[in-house]
């Protein structure tokens, strides 16, 4: 069955216009990703409303193309002007920019294209091979488990992002809460609409996504000094860059696999995977000049970022838990187009799921070709001033928000959530947890109700083995690090008291 679905997936991807959308998405992603201050999530959020008329698989493949291309494109701005297009590319600046300063920008860009593409292939391949293993796991989940997985997802996100866990919990619950505006799911009761017709359909989660990613980021960008590079000289040698990747197969593969598996952890996106891979490279090669333009530093981070795309799609598609900002937007895209994360994506829609990974596979070919052939042209994109980018992004965001439902509440929502998102990021409140709540709210509420209908009491969440396991995992994730910290400080207090007693004696 999995093999049939795989071949159907290949047919889907190579049909027209799907294959065109793969290429268009990747190209667009590279361009958007390389604009300083704009990353894949912003581009995806702005363009999401325009996918409404597309076939579901075409829309998602287009978005995945942007995601994949954006991941590579972000490294261009990191290497050339020390301004990552996205947080996931921040680690590339550490050695990429010193290489540019040393006149080896072409080497670094060639490493980026080669390592991203090769490991992108590997990531997609591993996930395609692993999919049959995932099928029985995903199908064993029922309503109680899916509700608990949403809760576990938020718990995981709170501990992989900065800040105290309570902030993540509040952000996630706030998102769930906002998703309840409009007609109730189980009964036709209008909730929190204040007799406004425009609120009967609720606040569109796409508007929330646009606000939290695009508008919030533009407010932040407006405060920063000019980050575009006005005087970038792209010199160096492409062949040396490609060769250095081929000469380091262990580092490349290890970083790629790290990127893939870290990407699979809900909440841990490319930011985590690239920094972990970089740290691992620093630990392994003690003779390195990391931070001063070591090619291996760029290999480590660039090998890790593109496989993270494939890895982070696994929890997104299987359980609806996004691994990063981009996958949070992608999750919104899946739901917008009626593709509900969970068992269906691994049963009747398995061919569609395969088509996503095959599209990543194909997209990486384009990354390699474009990356190596057009390297010297990219410096032009990085020179766009942020005061030109900001109004254009805001106009596109407003147009996109109104296009969703022709509802001015959605337009107002992008501004309100944009301002809120700006302050949330500033004070370490996870916007991914917020988005997860807002996007998965209706599904979580429905699953909560179905679960309670099954047994009519809350014990259903602890009487089924899988549910109980998820409850324990959630508690461990949330309370484990705090208990550890508490016990550690108690131990230190005890030691201090003992020392004091001894000195008194």
């Amino acid at each position: 069955m999995a093999l049939d679905a795989f071949f159907s997936g290949i047919e889907l991807v190579f049909a027209w216009p799907t294959i065109g959308l793969v290429f268009f998405g990747v190209l667009l992603g590279i361009i958007i990703g390389s604009i300083p201050g704009v990353g894949a999530p912003i581009g995806m959020a702005m363009l999401l409303p325009l996918t409404v008329g597309m076939e579901p698989h075409n829309a998602i493949i287009f978005l995945i193309g942007i995601y994949s291309g954006g991941m590579y494109g972000g490294s261009i701005a990191s290497i050339l002007i020390n301004a990552p297009g996205d947080a996931g590319n921040a680690a590339t600046t550490l050695d990429g920019y010193p290489l540019t300063k040393a006149g080896r920008a072409k080497d670094a860009l060639a490493i980026s294209a080669t390592a991203s593409a090769l490991m992108g292939f590997l990531g997609a391949l591993v996930v395609i091979v692993l999919t049959p293993v995932l099928i029985p796991i995903v199908r064993s989940f029922g309503s109680p488990e899916y509700f608990l997985v949403a809760v576990l997802g938020i718990a995981l996100i709170t501990v992989v992002t900065k800040g105290a866990p309570i902030k993540g919990i509040v952000a996630g619950a706030f998102g769930f809460m906002i998703s309840t505006v409009g007609l109730a799911i189980m009964t036709p009761t209008p909730r929190f609409t204040f007799d406004q017709m425009g609120l009967y359909d609720g606040i569109d989660f796409i508007a929330i996504l646009i606000g939290l990613f695009a508008v919030a980021e533009m407010i932040k960008l407006s405060q920063q000094q000019q980050i575009a590079g006005s005087n970038v000289t792209v010199t160096g040698n492409i062949k040396t860059g490609v060769k250095s990747v081929i000469d380091h197969p262990v580092l490349t593969t290890k970083s790629g696999l790290l990127g893939l598996f870290i990407g699979m952890i809900p909440g841990a996106g490319a930011t985590t995977s690239t920094f972990v891979s970089y740290a691992e490279a620093v630990r392994t090669y003690t003779d390195g000049k990391f931070g001063d333009g070591d090619l291996r530093g760029v290999i480590a981070t660039e090998s890790a970022n593109n496989p993270t795309v494939s890895g982070s799609l696994v929890p997104t598609i299987a359980f609806g838990i996004p691994g990063s900002g981009s996958t949070a937007v992608l999750l919104g895209g899946l739901i917008l187009h009626g593709l509900r994360p969970g068992p269906d994506m691994f049963a009747s829609q398995l061919h569609v799921t395969y088509s996503f990974f095959i599209a990543i596979f194909i997209g990486n070919l384009l990354i390699l070709a474009v990356g190596l052939l057009l390297i010297t042209r990219f410096s032009l994109i990085t020179q766009i001033d942020s005061s030109i980018i900001i109004p254009i992004v805001i106009v596109l965001s407003v147009l996109g928000a109104f296009t969703l439902n022709r509802n001015w509440f959605d337009v107002a929502a992008i501004l309100a959530f944009g301002i809120m998102g700006y302050y949330m990021v500033r004070h370490n409140y996870s916007i991914i947890a917020f988005i997860l709540g807002a996007v998965l709210g209706p599904i979580a509420e429905e699953n909560l109700f179905r679960s309670l209908q099954l047994e009519d009491n809350w014990l259903i969440f602890v009487t089924r083995p899988l549910s109980l396991l998820l409850v324990i995992l959630t508690l461990l994730v949330l309370l484990g690090p705090i208990l550890k910290e508490y016990l550690h400080s108690a131990e230190e207090d005890g030691d201090e008291a003992m020392d004091q007693n001894l000195s008194e004696e």
Partner: protein, 184 residues
């Protein structure tokens, strides 16, 4: 200028207020149990969580840790992260040059962006986004001391985007909700 602590307190207080609304309205308006349970459950978590954050250091031992302990298990915020953030800090250190300097007006770029965006949305609602989008873009770029030629070019690009949306999504962006209701 709102300081860091104050703006966080305001954010949390806003969450607390909104959470209270979601907690109380289902009781006040007598929602059916099916409709009330989930928003009240989430509203309750938001209210309790926000209250704990606001109380912060005044909480006893384990509760205080829940609020103040950073438990980032994938702690990549070592020296590398600090280095990567350094360039951003440098960029944040000083504000952009704007027309405010010439007019002697004291307004931050952030406040200007929020105010002009609000005015753009409001005027778009009144007369239609087609007319105000290029104006917004031109004003914004001129404020940040771009040349008139660039400002006009970006204004034309924004106009093209509006036409693209009108064409692809068939949205009447030439119509306002209060004035110009018939469009052009």
């Amino acid at each position: 200028m709102i300081g860091n602590t104050d703006s966080e307190d305001m954010l949390v207080f806003m969450m607390l207020m909104v959470g209270s609304i979601f907690l109380l309205i289902p009781w006040v308006e007598n929602y059916a149990t099916e409709a009330a349970l989930f928003p009240q459950l989430m509203g309750g978590i938001v209210v309790v969580g926000s209250a704990l954050i606001l109380l912060g250091d005044r909480l006893p031992g384990p509760l205080e840790m829940l609020v103040n302990t950073d438990v980032n298990i994938t702690d990549s915020s070592g020296e590398y992260d600090k280095e990567a953030n350094a360039s951003e800090e440098i960029r944040n250190a000083s504000e952009k040059q704007t027309l405010a300097d010439e007019f002697g007006v004291s307004i931050s770029s952030k406040a200007f962006t929020i105010l002009l965006t609000s005015a753009f949305i409001l005027s778009g609602y009144v007369v239609g986004l087609l007319f105000v989008a290029p104006l917004f873009v031109v004003l914004y770029t001129l404020w940040f001391k771009q040349s008139l030629r660039i400002a006009l070019l970006v204004g034309v690009i924004s106009l093209l985007f509006v036409f693209l949306f009108m064409e692809l999504a068939n949205i009447p962006f030439d119509q306002g909700e209060i004035l110009n209701r018939g469009g052009i």
